[in-house]
């Protein structure tokens, strides 16, 4: 599973792309949980958009190893 990271998510992981073959998440909610387990700082992000194959995805959207995921926290700078 390829996960693209933006904003503060990229800062937390320290990389723009996360390749995580060990992740077993079947949907977006489970993926968020796995991210928190691996990187506890994700727990404090209450507001986070997730895209699956370049489309905005709700928590119940199912995912598999073939999908490209993007983790998009809000950013405020101007």
């Amino acid at each position: 599973m390829k996960i693209l990271l933006f904003g503060v998510a990229k800062d937390i992981v320290g990389n723009q792309v996360l390749e995580e073959p060990s992740f077993k998440a079947k949907n977006v909610a489970e993926l968020k949980q796995e991210l928190i387990t691996k990187y506890p700082e994700f727990a404090k992000l209450s507001s986070l958009a997730v895209a699956v194959d370049e489309k905005y995805a709700c928590d119940d959207r199912s995912i598999s190893a073939e999908n490209e995921i993007a983790i998009i926290p809000p950013v405020s700078g101007g």
Binding site: V8, S47, A49, K55, I72, P74, V75, G77, G78
Partner: protein, 365 residues
Amino acid sequence: MNPERYTRQTRLQGFGEAGQQKLADAKVLVIGAGGLGVPVLQYLSGMGVGTIGIVDNDVVDISNLQRQILYSENDLGQSKVEIAKQKLTELNSEIEIITFPTFISTENALEIIANFDVIVDASDNFPTRYLVNDTCVILKKPLIYGALHAFEGQVSVFNFKGGPTYRCLFPEMPNPEEIPDCNENGVLGIIPGIIGSLQALEAIKVITGIGETLSGKLLLLDGLNQSQQKIKFGLNPKNLEIKELQKSYEFSCATEVKSIEAEAFLKKWNSENIQLVDVRNPEEVERQNLPEIQRKDWKNIPLSELQEKSSKIDLQKPTYFLCQSGMRSLKAINLLEGLKIYGDFVDVKGGMNAISELTATTKHS
């Protein structure tokens, strides 16, 4: 009007004289005359948008000049909207520039935004972004969105022809401790130049109807590797049901933090022996500070150093926390309480921005 002025764009197929006339008839409001607002203002003025409103209450600071390249060293300390108006009028004297030397707030948002057709969010904080989104939903105005984080940017068009809104992407405002702001986090000078230019392009498309806007799409740019992603997102109809603004768009906190309005704080500051902890960076303090600081119990401890320097705070005294916009002062109190350091802590709402609004008003009256 000099017919030569716009020939490079009026000769474009699909734009033409008709497109130019639409620009001339348009009224665009730009909220924020900083990193994003400057390129938006420059291009919209140059291209001939007939009426441009600018909302900002800041003055030009030396630390602005690496990215806000409409301003120059001679303008330091002067009102951004005034300098912007002067320079944009030099660029194009055939357009009208209307200045609003204030920060947008729940008191003025509906009134100001109502007079414009297209709104550009070039602000730099979440409370403003949510306030502007909700106002645009209520007044049915298209909103051109741009925002930055370090080397990255986001661009989209909200609330356009029944399309999705900011809240369809990020339904609720994040907590203050989640996302760092620009003052803390830094921004590479060119990034707002790029993102602001893209916002200007989207505004032109919304006004003239050329091309395809970013409505329903979030453009993500990473300046470090020049990668772009476009994320499709849809409307959640309940986000169009906003009928009135929230009472407040200030950050709400998990733990209850005591706070004080800027006006009440100034009274205390002038009459009582209170302790003030300013958690801004030294450069920000240098630029703008309270009167009579020397004779008071005042400490400058930047938020990033608060943990190691927390022993400097006299916990026996009532302690007021101040920053630029009221965001970091909240974080500071949360941080101390997280470290199990408790005292009579009070947050000064709206920070130096709110205080300077007050002192400016007093001066005028």
